[in-house]
């Protein structure tokens, strides 16, 4: 899933390793999310949102729209 994790991380001045340490995951997990190779679980997405002080949809971009 398209996301703004790299942008937010770089704005905070953190390396992938630093963000991984703060979230309690491996650096590879951060890299896989940033490169759209892995969609994180809901708990991890919520932790990311909490860490960056924003809502989950501000990090992960879902272009799906419900049919009315």
């Amino acid at each position: 899933m398209e996301n703004r994790l790299k942008e937010l991380r770089e704005a905070a001045g953190w390396s992938q390793g630093e963000l991984a340490r703060r979230l309690g995951v491996s650096r590879q997990t951060i890299n896989a999310v940033e490169t759209d190779k892995y969609d994180p679980s809901l708990p991890l997405a919520l932790r990311m949102a909490k860490l960056f002080g924003c809502a989950v949809p501000e990090i992960f971009i879902d272009r799906w729209e419900p049919e009315i």
Partner: protein, 212 residues
């Protein structure tokens, strides 16, 4: 874009070097040390011993990488020095598992009828390696983060699917007389080889074959 192409090129080059080195080591091992011992055995035993050498070499390379992270970051595709230091326990477990499986497979290959190793020794060594690998995975499971847990399950799914599809198609073709089934040693080699292929597919899909 240019940078990621360059990285991909480096990965491909490292993989090609690894494949050539692995093939050369396997050929050397089969023709020199193991060659005379496998003389009486069928082609399946040679395939099993060759696969065992590949597993053993992988375990050796990862082990060297863990022991000397600076050298490891150059030897291994997946990771930099920091990652190796961070994941020392997991990588050590992987190295031990691969080495044990490699030794077990070679001993099993040498344990066929008229082989150089007593059958019970080959079977026990291979059985122990399987048990050890499963135990290491179970012990390390708690230490995995969600990406590694997912990859572990995906590699099992890919490996299982590849094994099932290959054996089903091969079996069906053999049933109608269009193919000959492998001998028992070839069957073990096939399963172990496809299992390894499944792991590479799962890891590659998550971008872990490219250093980032």
């Amino acid at each position: 874009m240019e940078a990621s192409r360059k990285k991909f090129g480096i990965v491909l080059m490292r993989m090609a070097i690894g494949a050539v080195a692995g093939f050369a080591a396997m050929k050397f091992g089969l023709e020199s040390g193991l060659g005379p011992l496998l003389k009486e055995a069928g082609p399946g035993s040679a395939a099993l011993a060759g696969s065992g050498l590949i597993y053993g070499l992988m375990g050796l390379f990862v082990g060297i990488g863990v022991a000397a992270p600076g050298l490891g970051s150059k030897l291994l595709n997946v990771t930099g020095r920091e990652d190796i230091e961070d994941q020392r326990a997991q990588m050590t477990g992987g190295a031990v598992g691969c080495l044990a499986l490699g030794i077990g497979m070679v001993l099993l290959a040498l344990a066929g009828p008229g082989g150089a190793v007593p059958g019970v020794v080959g079977a026990a060594a291979f059985g122990f390696a399987l048990f050890l690998t499963a135990a290491i995975t179970l012990l390390q499971w708690r230490g995995y983060d969600e990406l590694w847990r997912n990859m572990s399950m995906e590699s099992a799914a890919w490996g299982g699917t590849l094994i099932a599809m290959t054996l089903l198609v091969w079996g069906a073709l053999a049933l109608i007389g269009w193919a000959i089934l492998p001998d028992p040693a070839g069957l073990v080699a096939l399963v172990m080889g496809l299992n390894l292929l499944g792991t590479f597919i799962a890891v590659g899909r998550r971008g872990l074959l490219i250093d980032a």
